[in-house]
């Protein structure tokens, strides 16, 4: 399973890199879709069907909206030649990535194996959760009972996002 996840993660990295460098914006949106749907397969391999359902549906709808927006625009990304400022930022980015990789390898040694970590709170949640919350689906029990505040926060975040969209995309009061 780890080999499969490694291959899929490599595919996701390729897709993300292509999305940055594609000249046509439509193909870069499709390459973003590669990243999302590969994540769905990763979730299924890691035995998380709840996350997989949410990811596949949200990704599809986001892709539809993005394709509609891109088809309405000029579809061309404008490239400019590198000058001194561009070289300086490129060198800074490479140095920062190397530093991050170094500390990442250090921290990786102290981490547990994927999926076999010893979580202190998870044991308490799993133990007799069906009797405590009365729900056969453990995820719903955790989301709406043990972690109710988180769910309420997510709902309020969605409302805030809608308010922001309605405020920005309004022509009547803009003049």
């Amino acid at each position: 399973m780890e080999i499969a996840i490694s291959i899929i993660t490599g595919l996701m990295i390729v897709g993300a890199l292509y999305a940055i460098h594609a000249k046509d914006l439509l193909s870069s949106v499709i390459a973003c879709g590669i990243v999302g749907y590969s994540l769905v397969i990763c979730f299924l391999l890691l035995k998380a069907p709840d996350l997989a359902i949410v990811q596949i549906v949200v990704d599809t709808i986001t892709l539809i909206i993005m394709v509609a927006v891109v088809l309405d625009s000029s579809r061309e990304e404008s490239f400019s030649k590198l000058d001194i400022k561009g070289y300086i930022s490129a060198v800074t980015a490479i140095v920062l990535v190397l530093i991050l990789l170094y500390f990442f390898t250090i921290s990786l040694r102290s981490l547990d194996v994927l999926g076999k970590s010893s979580l202190r709170m998870a044991d308490y949640y799993i133990e007799g959760a069906a009797q405590k919350t009365g729900s056969a689906n453990l995820v719903t029990g955790v989301v709406f009972d043990f972690r109710g505040y988180d769910t309420m926060g997510e709902a309020v975040v969605l409302v805030t996002a809608v308010l922001g969209v309605l405020t920005i995309l309004r022509l009547k009061g803009k003049k």
Binding site: I61, S135, A161, V162
Partner: protein, 167 residues
């Protein structure tokens, strides 16, 4: 100054009326397929929401599926500009109502048993049955309504912005 302004306003209104603002639909094949499929997608979303405490899924996933069916119908059939505006107003009301209901149910936990926020105050029933788990199905239903309406509002406002803006 004032008559000039008035004149300008009237002209703009006329332009909006005569510009024939109607979102174009898609071809006959897409419309027929949508007629056959959209209802089933909607029912599947409702199923995922209602069985959220038994099977994988729940309010968020089911809400997005319901929103997907509504988006499919809007994209395939198009619609009048004024009808879209009316739909947006109605969906905004539904979304606010659902969010307030979630918070009210959570606050109702203060009234029963141990007085805490997010208290599961209804009887829990037998694990695995459709009517069980106390208030969790209610949370699922209202969160699902809220998610569906918010995603549909974002989509509708994008369409209305495109139709409304001058070419």
């Amino acid at each position: 100054m004032i008559p000039f302004r008035k004149e300008q306003g009237v002209g703009e209104k006329d332009k909006l009326k005569t510009r024939n603002v109607k979102m174009k639909g898609m071809t006959l094949i897409v419309r027929k397929t949508t007629q056959l499929i959209a209802g089933m997608i909607f029912m599947y979303g409702i199923y995922v929401i209602i069985h959220g405490h038994l099977t994988p899924g729940g309010g968020f996933a089911g809400g997005v599926i319901v929103a997907g069916s509504l988006i499919l119908v809007t994209l395939a059939f198009g619609g009048d500009f004024l009808k879209l505006l009316k739909e947006e107003t109605g969906t905004t009301i539904v979304e606010s109502f659902a969010t307030i209901m979630v918070i009210l149910i959570a606050t109702a936990g203060f009234l029963f048993g141990t007085h805490i926020f997010f208290n599961n105050f209804l009887p829990k029933g037998i694990v695995g049955e459709l009517v069980s788990a106390g208030v969790l199905p209610l949370y699922n239903i209202f969160v699902g309504t809220e998610v569906a309406s918010s995603i549909f509002i974002i989509f509708l406002s994008l369409i209305i912005f495109k139709e409304e803006s001058p070419q």
